[in-house]
């Protein structure tokens, strides 16, 4: 035992001598996380991060058997789920974890919004987080097509055609995404490349920045807590206390993912046929449903503008406004209730929930 500890110590000092890691350990040792009634929200980003790690691991495994080709993509996924040992589990975990990741990213984002954690000095943390969310949706959109089934095929036709409606740049972007005028095997190759190479590279870089910001600035404290004197605040050390709680929650989330993957295995559906009518009940993934439902409701033409152009412009503008929330944040006088930013956030959530449910009912 003593010898092993000695060995660890020697390794540490060997590393410290070369890379000066002591200041980093010191920093970690003095990092505290406040405990209060909103502490639970601190864990949501961590859960999203954990699910991203699950995605990376299962994704690398799936790549070993998957074939990104119009003829064999569907068959290769069927091969994974029926022939490869535990293939059904890995594929199902990848799908479930992807959906839960998007869910927790949303929870993390709205909790940051409602606790006003995006305010100075965390503007860039919010914006990098927004970009990560957009990339997560990109992961979802490109990954959805890969099994080359009917639902995904038409969802991709619709999704890429939407970009084509944008003024001026729409058509070239659409062709760039599809790898041609139609959704074909060329689209599949591109989405595969985007899904497993381009997005992970960009995501990893921005995730690194996002986490660096969080570590450097520490956890945001709600207004009332900031006004308290230091000795009245309840704090726990980040290392090991907070990290251990994080790990416990990650373990619970992993169990939930496994439960879902085992008892509700992700379906493969029918192979896509580019010359068959779109089937009834065609739908994108749930997190695009509210936009899909909105597009359904906008008539063909509004004044002189095509309905779809209007819908896309609307969502683009809302997205940009949401990304730059820290810059136009409506500061209210403390006595004014309800707070305008809270009203905007609640309205956004209510809109998303109602339109998502409506989309599934219609």
């Amino acid at each position: 035992m003593g010898r092993r500890r000695n060995m660890a110590k020697r390794t540490y000092s060997w590393l410290d001598e070369r890379f000066h890691i002591s200041p980093l350990i010191e920093f970690m040792r003095h990092k505290y996380v406040p405990v209060h009634r909103h502490t639970v929200w601190y864990y949501m980003g961590g859960v999203a991060l954990f699910l991203f790690i699950v995605q990376v691991v299962t994704g690398i495994l799936l790549v070993l058997y998957y074939q990104p080709d119009e003829e064999s993509a569907f068959e290769s996924v069927r091969f994974i789920t029926t022939k490869v040992s535990f293939g059904w589990l890995i594929r199902s975990v990848h799908s479930w974890s992807a959906n839960l990741m998007v869910f927790f990213v949303f929870v993390h984002m709205f909790s940051t919004f409602f606790t006003r954690a995006f305010r100075k000095p965390r503007e860039l943390t919010w914006m990098s987080g927004f970009v990560l969310m957009a990339l997560a949706l990109g992961f979802g959109f490109t990954g959805y097509l890969l099994p080359w089934n009917e639902l995904a095929f038409f969802a991709t036709k619709v999704g890429t055609d939407i970009t084509g409606a944008l003024p001026f740049i729409g058509e070239p972007v659409k062709i760039l995404l599809r790898g041609g005028p139609d959704v074909t095997g060329a689209t599949l190759s591109r989405f595969y490349a985007i899904h497993i190479a381009l997005l992970p590279a960009i995501f990893a870089a921005i995730l690194f920045l996002h986490l660096l910001f969080v570590q450097r600035q520490g956890m945001h404290e709600p207004d009332y807590l900031q006004r308290l004197p230091k000795e009245k605040k309840k704090l726990i050390p980040f290392f090991p206390n907070f990290l251990l709680r994080d790990t416990l929650l990650w373990l619970m989330v992993l169990n939930i993912v496994l439960f879902l993957a085992v008892f509700f295995p992700w379906e493969l559906g029918e192979k896509a046929d580019p010359f068959a009518p779109a089937p009834e009940g065609i739908a994108p993934e749930w997190y695009f449903m509210f936009m899909f439902q909105t597009l359904k409701l906008i008539p063909g033409h509004v004044l002189f503008v095509e309905g779809e152009v209007l819908g896309i412009l609307f969502f683009t503008l809302v997205g940009i406004a949401w990304m730059f929330v820290p810059l136009w944040d409506l500061k209210q006088r403390p006595e004014r209730r309800p707070r305008p930013m809270t009203v905007i956030g609640v309205a956004g959530i209510v809109y998303i929930i109602i339109f998502t449910i409506w989309g599934y009912m219609a």
């Binding site: 038409f154 619709v158 760039l176 068959a276 359904k296 779809e308």
Partner: protein, 143 residues
């Protein structure tokens, strides 16, 4: 206007950098643009025998790379229309219960002449000519 030595060097270096960026990005962007694959110029396709095509039904034909929907109405007439919804590119289907053309993606409806009558489609479906020659259905582009 006098240009100092420093300004001149900055201009030269900045211009060089821009030129380098352009020459590096141009091949990448060009690579991303898919080459145009020449398409066989299909003018018409055969769609089987008229006597075997039951009334109040439809079929999707491959017209080159384009899907075309061929419908036989209740009264026995043939109609051929582009099967790609003008809204967001889904493939439409004939609803024998409604006697109309329906797009499942966003609930768009067209009448049997391809006119967009309800839902989000902004334009009618393109029409194709249908001729019956010796009981054989021939669908062709309208010039």
């Amino acid at each position: 206007m006098a240009v100092s030595r420093r300004q001149f060097t900055n201009l030269l270096l900045g211009g060089g950098l821009l030129g380098w960026l352009g020459s590096a990005l141009y091949p990448i962007v060009s690579f991303l643009r898919p080459p145009k694959i020449p398409e066989a110029n299909v003018q018409s396709v055969k769609a089987g025998l008229a006597s075997e095509f039951s009334a109040n039904s439809s079929e999707i034909l491959k017209f080159g790379r384009q899907p075309v929907i061929l419908i036989r109405t209740e009264s026995g007439d043939f109609r051929a229309l582009a099967a790609t919804c003008t809204h967001l590119d889904c493939i439409v289907q004939y609803r024998s219960d409604l006697k109309q053309i329906w797009c499942a993606c966003h609930n768009g409806l067209y009448d049997l002449k391809g006119r967009n009558i309800s839902g989000p489609p902004p334009r009618p479906l393109d029409q194709f000519a249908v001729n019956i020659v010796n009981d054989e259905i021939l669908v062709s582009k309208i010039a």
